[in-house]
């Protein structure tokens, strides 16, 4: 018997929600297939991720589950990567969460969603040196997730009561150990004034999503701490942002640690103008990119 599970791409942070929020979208997905080998140990089959399970985000999550549950079976873990790696789209979280869902089903472990998030977090250690649950929570819950607590893991799914589409700008600018570098750029301390401002913004943004208040989403999704400190990683962002807002995008943010950029749109948004402005700006920075129209993945119902 084998089990295959999918997890989709996601955008962590959403402006003021650094390490707190994440949104799943249909732009890309990973699928992971697990089956018992009859032998021992974990065998990773993948053409784009490390084959040593300890260096592989899916492998590390699977090892942790098998260890905790005392499962001795050998396992083949086949990873089909669809989410581009290292572009702020939750690629490692997609592999690890898909593998956890697959192992949960194969061994009938009946894990709660938060338990699955917990195990999926282990994959993030392989990928970026620290366990954080934002992208993996998207891979387990779908939709918009709020990390209430990391230890113990406590995730809440926020219902979005506004119809919107997404434009994803995906620059092909790869960097070694990008997530570690991006995390090290964030200041250790901030002013109380900035804290109050950004706590108000995340509150306003969540109010907007839950109440379908377009203005509140737009007013809240602004960040002058994390996005600002990392601007060197995506120097085109500020210009793209200004243009997108002036063309009536609902809002815009950096996707995860970047360099990808996520734009929220509706029927009032001049999408074509945003696309052509983006093209002009990205060319002026001499950065290859792709732009993808997509939508929120609201639920995993498989």
């Amino acid at each position: 018997m084998e089990v295959t599970k999918r997890s989709y791409s996601s955008s962590a942070n959403l402006g003021p929600g650094y390490d707190i929020l994440s949104l799943a979208h249909k732009a890309f997905f990973d699928s992971v297939t697990v089956k018992k080998t009859g032998g021992a140990g974990i065998k990773i089959i993948s053409d784009s991720t490390p084959e040593n399970p300890e260096n592989n985000s899916a492998g590390l999550s699977v090892m942790k589950i098998l260890g905790d549950r005392g499962i001795k079976d050998g396992l083949e873990v086949r990873i089909n990567k669809g989410v581009p790696i290292g572009l702020g789209l939750g690629s490692s979280g997609a592999s690890s969460s898909a593998s956890v869902k697959a192992v949960n089903e194969l061994f009938e472990l009946n894990m709660s969603p938060d338990e699955m998030v917990y195990y999926s977090m282990y994959g993030e250690i392989a990928a970026c040196g620290s366990a954080h649950p934002d992208n993996v929570s998207s891979g387990i819950y779908g939709g918009l997730t709020l990390i209430s607590s990391t230890s113990p893991v406590r995730v809440r799914k926020v219902k979005i009561n506004y119809e919107m589409s997404l434009l994803l700008i995906i620059p092909y600018s790869h960097m070694e150990k990008k997530t570690q570098k991006a995390r090290s750029m964030v200041p250790d301390k901030i002013s109380m004034t900035d804290h109050v401002l950004h706590a108000s913004r995340i509150s306003t943004m969540l109010y907007g999503f839950m109440n379908g208040d377009r203005d509140a989403i737009r007013e809240g999704m602004m960040d002058d701490i994390v996005e600002k400190s990392r601007e060197a990683l995506f120097p085109y962002y500020r210009q793209i942002r200004e243009k997108a807002i002036s063309e009536n995008a609902i809002s815009i943010c950096v996707s995860g640690a970047g360099p990808s950029i996520l734009i929220f749109t509706d029927e009032n948004t001049k999408k074509n103008e945003i696309i052509s402005n983006t093209d002009r700006i990205m060319k002026s920075y001499n950065v290859d990119y792709n732009i993808k129209e997509t939508s929120i993945l609201e639920d995993y119902d498989d």
Copy 2:
């Protein structure tokens, strides 16, 4: 013709919502009556607040409106204080917001709620040296208010989808210039870790209020920045908190800058045990206090 308006007591902050959130309750109210005198100038009639309009929270708000609107009429402003002064219950905000509502109606100014919040803020300068809109937003909107922006003023009213009652502990410990002192005790800088933790908590708490999720309200309403830095002003708080949580209060916080304490309860809460524990603790600190059962003021519909 004269116009009389009421504003109720309120609790700002609610734990992690420092300078962002405020909740109106029915425990106390101020009423303000305004009428034209036929002469010039503003005459304050009050037995417990300053009679010089510039030192009076209602007077300062009224002066600002008349100045901005070019209104030359003389005005008598009669303030009946019901909200105790200097105990963290939004007393000055109640007087100023009631006076603004009364003047708005007397002169048929048709101000928007946020405009009324803006003018009410001026009263806070008289009372505590800085203009902040949290308590006054409760006096205008009622219910639970979220300050999205202070300049321009932008307030959102958060619908609470959970039935709850309130216990208000009101210690009679007065201090000169309490609000200024309390504000000066808050640190200028905080760690990024604390920022993320508290932004997650305010998000979780708001999620809880909006979705009627009791656990989320409880998990979110915790503060280790502002309440902690001010603990010397209400040394009994930590013990009362621990007992209230162990007796299954929904949650508990310091009301505004203190010293009053607000406890959220429902039918699962052992209210009598909390009341007797509070009595024991307050006696051990030798602090006179009153305890009042009350409820949320959801709306001003007059």
